[in-house]
Amino acid sequence: MGDSVLFKRVVLHCHQKIGADRTINNIYHLLTGRRSVQTVQDSHLYQLQTFHGIYRHLTKVDFHRLIQELKRDGYIKSVGQNEHTFIPTDKADLCLNGTRTNDDLLMTYFSGSEYYRMDESFYNRLLLFIQVVTNQKMNNYSYIPVVDDNETTQWLKRNFQQINRQLDRYITELHKELAHILNHLRDEHASIFVDQLTSYKLYGLSVSQLARTHHCSKGSIRLTRTAVIHYMLTQVTNNGHLFPVLSSFVPSEVTPSHLSQSATKTYTMLKKHFTLEQIANKRQLKLSTVHDHLVEIAYHVKHFSIDRFVSQADQKIIIKAIEKAETSKLKEIKSIVGDAFDYYQIKLVLSKAHQKEVGDTHGV
């Protein structure tokens, strides 16, 4: 497999984890990083957090085209009545677990939920910064910026007013830092990354151009880029002192991990000891929406106690039911515990059970 088929492998991988539990639309939501409770929860349930939101600009059309291809080539087959539910075939198994390819390495770089949206800002900052310092170095002040979104432009203005005084330092240091990180990657991946950078009178290749020169799909190029950025972010955040310039490009996250805005508001009110009903009333939301927020918070905020909403005794009952059901499917769990509990309470317990698992494996 000379060609990069990263996009295919990513989808197959997700598919294999999820099996026939969910429809393919859930994979789409996962990759595009939908912030619904269901999607966030699924990513934890199936241990796919690292894939959450790694392909935010994926269109439905492109996704379904890929699914059709996978079906045609016998990687997946439909199950049951639902035309949106598939299971991976043996061929998919072979593809994922057979010969190791460069793509396997890339797949380990993803940290989707951790760098949710940060990756994009980081990449934009890096792109613009290189273009600005190199042009200023050559005394060229008339060029069209590769990135012109307000956030990035403002960031540059705020943080680098005196950029001119240290041009040489920035240029040498940033080159050194990038070379250092890229050296740890396969040449092919480093090359794809470098080809996208824009400098003085030298514009980077676009995604479609890269796809053509590397004989692979645009999806694979985009995912390669994201994987490299995630790798970079991991290196930079773990060893900040080695990468002073790149570190200054890492956006600081203010909200607790990655809560949606609305859930953040709910979270703030919870901390002020409002009850769920009061929050729903005050914010003119349905109670079920507040329940959804609660579950989202439980997944994302470490050490968030759910005892206020499900007593410890009740938690035990639900945990037993989960063990008995041997599945994470809510319906089956609910049928065991009966009407005594609400769905959201089961979801809350699931979230904590899951965090424990993750915690345990990390402990090893």
Binding site: I144, D148, A190, V194, D195, S199, L202, Y203, T213
Partner: protein
């Protein structure tokens, strides 16, 4: 200080040029004096400078009405690259917040680009009324004329809005227009004392050639011959996106050492910017493109323009070849023609106008809606059923409005009027159809011309033409070997390692 002194200084200060090109100064001085102006300047002669400079020198805000969003966005980017920051564009791509920010700070801007649709919007008109407008630019003013090749119904309403804004001076600009269309523009603007600056549009440094070939295979062979022979920036025009892509891929695989890209309206914003800028910075030799490429591109040394497909009228052809040789050096236009090509533009024309059947279907629906007491909202959904595309629907909708059959959301209740209106609409539809077919025929006739191509190409627009600086045309014994443009050295070395490329990016090592 005299105006002529002020504009010269401004030219140096803002654009770093020492001299005006033909026509620019005359137009600018009239604009500065507050006169209404019609400026007709050939493509590539710096039309936009005619409003940019006075706008920067005068107080108040200039409104620039421009029909193409991508062109608008490009112009704003280019101005910002020149450190002219107080410019903005209002178009359907704006995010809500962005638009509000622009509207509430409207008076802070020197130039505001706007689409004709938004220019008419009630809300935006209210904002426009509150600021001091120094003059209004109508770019691509030929869109106002029903005799032109690119009539846009929205352009007809521009004048009413200008009246509502208390009649600021107008600068109407266009490249390729016949005298009939010029008169039509003047008439529609209702400004009797408008100053007309009309300049000849023939380009003496572009040799004109037409190659009659048997089929598409021979077209690609011809292109390969040309691209291999000359190492110069080259544009190849197509009327189809997919063919542009296909040929670009074919050229990439058959010609090593050439950087070929494609460009069309279906590309993502980011792709467009990259391809444009790579071409500007000599990283690409050849671009296979549709007419979407070129309008915002200010590249001086494009040397060869090839038409893989012919456009649908002479005006577009003149504009497209006009992108060659802006630096005045000898350049070349090659129009490739295979027998079946004439059907292509014909099908485009069909897509621009509704058929008679479609028109009657919509009218029938309209009548029924009226009887059921429904409004036009309902009608909007019928255009799908009549299988009208957007251009066709816009045409119909504006005709319905113009003939008083609908007003806003309401359907007119005067039934007696309907019959007359229907026949008026149908007449108009046929008239537009005929205009377009005639335009196409003009171009076809020219392509089979045996006389000098230069003389015959421009004779509809002007009486004389300049002597060519290099070779004239394929009917005046053009010879490829005698066309010897200066070769361009391209900077891309594909086979470099990424380490080396990264050094280049950071300006390290030997000179690039």
């Amino acid at each position: 200080m005299a105006y002529s002194e002020i504009v010269k200084r401004g030219l140096k200060q803002y654009f770093n040029y020492d001299f005006f090109r033909e026509g620019q100064e005359e137009i600018i001085l009239d604009v500065m004096a507050g006169r209404d102006v019609l400026g007709v300047l050939p493509t590539g002669s710096g039309k936009s400078l005619c409003y940019q400079l006075p706008s920067l020198l005068m107080s108040g805000t200039t409104i620039v009405i421009s029909p193409l969003i991508s062109l608008m966005i490009d112009q704003v980017k280019e101005l910002k690259a020149r450190k002219i920051k107080r410019v903005a564009s209002l178009n359907s791509f704006n995010h809500y917040e962005e638009r509000q920010r622009i509207l509430t700070n409207l008076r802070e801007y020197k130039m505001v680009f706007i689409s004709p649709e938004l220019f008419q919007q009630q809300e935006i008109r209210e904002y426009l009324k509150r600021i001091q407008i120094n003059f209004v630019v109508i770019d691509e003013a030929h869109c106002i004329s029903q005799w032109g090749y690119e009539f846009r119904p929205d352009y007809l309403k521009i004048k009413d809005v200008i009246t509502e804004l208390n009649e600021p001076p107008i600068l109407a600009l266009s490249a390729t227009v016949t005298p009939t269309v010029q008169q039509d523009i003047v008439k529609s603007l209702k400004r009797d004392r408008i100053k007309q600056h009309i300049y000849p549009m023939d380009r003496d440094n572009i040799a004109l050639t037409i190659e009659h070939v048997a089929n598409d295979v021979e077209k690609v062979q011809m292109i390969t011959y040309i691209v291999e022979k000359y190492h110069v920036p080259t544009l190849i025009y197509f009327s189809s996106r997919s063919v542009a892509e296909r040929v670009a891929n074919e050229l990439t695989s058959t010609m090593t050492g050439k950087n070929v890209a494609y460009y069309h309206g279906g590309l993502e914003q980011q792709d467009r910017l990259h391809i444009q800028q790579q071409f500007m910075n000599d990283q690409l030799d050849v671009i296979c493109c549709t007419s979407a490429f070129g309008m915002g591109i200010n590249k001086q040394d494009i040397r060869i323009i090839i038409h893989y497909h012919m456009p649908s009228q002479i005006e577009s052809f003149i504009q497209e070849i006009g992108r060659a040789g802006r630096d005045g050096k000898d350049s070349l236009s090659v129009l490739l023609y295979a027998e079946n090509d004439k059907f292509l533009p014909q099908s485009f024309i069909e897509q621009e106008l509704p058929t008679e059947n479609q028109m009657f279907f919509v009218l029938e629906q309209l009548m029924r809606s009226y009887e059921h007491g429904q409004t036009v909202d309902y009608l909007d959904s019928t255009f799908n059923r009549a299988e009208l595309n957007e251009t066709q629907w816009n045409f119909l909708h504006s005709q319905l409005e113009k003939n008083g059959m609908i007003k806003g959301k309401q359907i007119n209740d005067n039934h007696d009027e309907w019959e007359r209106a229907t026949s008026r609409m149908n007449d108009f539809r046929q008239k537009r159809w005929q205009v377009k077919i005639n335009k196409l025929q003009e171009l076809l006739d020219w392509m089979f011309e045996t006389e000098c191509l230069r003389k015959t190409l421009y004779e509809k627009f002007q009486e004389t033409y300049k002597e060519p600086t290099g070779q004239c045309c394929s009917n005046c014994s053009f010879n490829y070997d005698a066309f010897t443009p200066e070769e361009k050295v391209y900077k891309i070395e594909r086979e470099q390692t990424w380490q080396k490329k990264l050094e280049n990016i950071f300006l390290i090592g030997d000179d690039i």
